[in-house]
Symmetry: none
């Protein structure tokens, strides 16, 4: 019985993910969702209070995956050699890209729909984005003294890193419809290490 309910919930969420992804939040009708989920119109309201609630449910699911992954990256930018730092950064980009491509629809729903202005989800999006920037900035700051990375302002630099990750990934996922995870994560790690080596390079030269 409870399984039945769980299944209905999953059907509804699954249908919503597909539809938000295809048509966007605003253009998706409750009737579309229930239609795709194969349940009656009224049933939707047994599981969610409103369309917004499904959206937030989806955002939460993704945010949890995301947070869990970020938690595991304590040693991003750490290392006792340039190569080790590079390896850690690469590991990070690889994992992140893998997670984003695996949950591509949810990622896009959150990062595009959520960011859309006036969306009721702007706040959610900003919270997640800011949290992401913060955590990366903190990781940077933690390793400022190692001498293997260099930057003026951790927040600014973090926003660069996340921007290049986020948009380039969606560029390949969305526009190019093809992501070579290995190549992209490696190039990303290279670029990041280069970008973070400005002063160290100059100094060592």
């Amino acid at each position: 019985m409870i399984e039945r309910q769980e299944q209905k919930l999953k059907q509804l969420v699954g249908a919503a993910v597909d539809l938000f992804y295809e048509k966007g939040f605003q253009s998706t009708r409750i009737s579309d969702i229930v239609g795709k989920a194969g349940v009656a119109q009224g049933t939707f309201y047994l599981y969610f209070k409103s369309k917004e609630e499904v959206f937030l449910h989806i955002c939460n699911e993704f945010t949890q995956l995301f947070s869990a992954l970020l938690e595991e990256t304590q040693d991003l930018f750490t290392g006792s050699s340039h190569e080790e730092v590079h390896k850690n950064v690469h590991q990070f980009t690889h994992r992140l890209i893998t997670m984003f491509t695996t949950n591509g629809k949810m990622a896009k729903i959150l990062f595009f729909e959520g960011g859309s202005y006036g969306g009721q989800f702007r706040k959610v999006y900003e919270g997640i984005y800011t949290g992401f920037v913060d955590i990366v900035a903190r990781r940077l700051e933690k390793n400022r003294q190692t001498g293997y990375i260099s930057f003026e302002d951790a927040e600014t630099e973090a926003s660069f890193l996340i921007g290049m990750f986020d948009r380039s990934l969606f560029y390949f996922m969305d526009v190019k419809k093809k992501v070579d995870i290995d190549a992209l994560s490696r190039r990303m790690a290279d670029f990041i290490m280069g970008g973070l080596s400005k002063n160290t390079r100059d100094i060592r030269k």
Copy 2:
């Protein structure tokens, strides 16, 4: 008479820009626009066929500014010394940030609303974004041989550059509500030059 019309058009476009920025495209009502513009409901339809059309009008305005600016950046990444290349990159980031902040609302409307999934404007957005990536990739390719920049795949690298530019700028404009153009453009140029120096650095080491 014609001036009057021009003025009405500007009022309408101005109101639309403000409202799309504040509430998003979907949540903005024609009645909001005419209300803010101080004209009658019907007047809107003398100037635009639909809400979509105002949106595209705004996108076009911004796209033109944007294209004009891109045209002027023929020597992005060129130069006969590391410093000269850096200077050119910096000039570019400075100009671009200035333009984006000056036309902040339009920029955000296009880059967020336009990118929103299922939005009717996805195509417009993708066209502009792809065009942007293409032009930067071409500038990169043109200067591959100079030895001052280095990369495996120009398109990938271009998507990095644009991503970091785009998102970090909006992060400061939107979330932080404060952009230090000089500092940001300089740091961006530094990061870019670092990111593009991977191999050169390794080689010279």
Copy 3:
């Protein structure tokens, strides 16, 4: 449940018939129909896609009655004596007038609204009218040889018969608001038999 739906449908159609009859198709608002039917505005759209669709529904209902009746009149104009032919013609006019007066509102909606120029229903009307002319012409042709009726061109003559039937009936229904079915059908039969006896009369004289 299904009965409930059927009832709602009937209420809506009934209200529409009344209103189209009183105010015409164009002047009838959906809000008038739902108001008269005692249902909510949105309910209308559960049963019909548009105002046009109710109209066509009504036309179909009447057309079916009409076609069924025409099917039964195989022996119109047949007979082995002038009197028998007359009797058959009279039977026909009597039945037809009875059907039209019984379904007076529907008949008028189709024959007036439908025929109205530029109406979206012109085609429907013309189809029905032409079909009516055709069938009467065929019945005439079938009995051309009996010697009890006479005419040059069956189609022309059929258009005479239908015209006199159609307009005179509406003249009494609409303008005079009173129809003496027996008298009218008899006079009509007399007139028709006279009109169709031109040559026979001359010959016999």
Copy 4:
């Protein structure tokens, strides 16, 4: 100057006739009329108070032509021999058909649009139709005693005559898009004389 005005009026009326004929009254926009007439939107209101007024203007024009013609038919159904009556009836149908086909658009606007239910013009239409029936009925009555025509009730018979005239003519004008005036008027006269000879024929037999 005054000629100029007259010309504008004619342009407007002409455009209105064409458009009412093509698209119907309701579907015709003032903007269509002024567009076709080549004058400004506001100019319309210098000549007519509303769309209704142009329609009535057109109806009046036609009604005048029609009334003038009816006035001239004092000797419809008169004559001192069957042949003479026939000749007069034929003359009448010929003239009437000629007039209707010559002013085909106006005729159809009045007889179809005007008759459309709920049309604001129902009254106008009914007035004209009733007047037509009345005058024919009076002509019939006047000649009841001659012995060349026979009928029970003049009004009924008049409604037959007009119905057959009206609808059959429009059937050929509209549906068949071809009217053979000579043949149609002759057949009509034949049919009418037949229809009106019921009793006389029986008596003389």
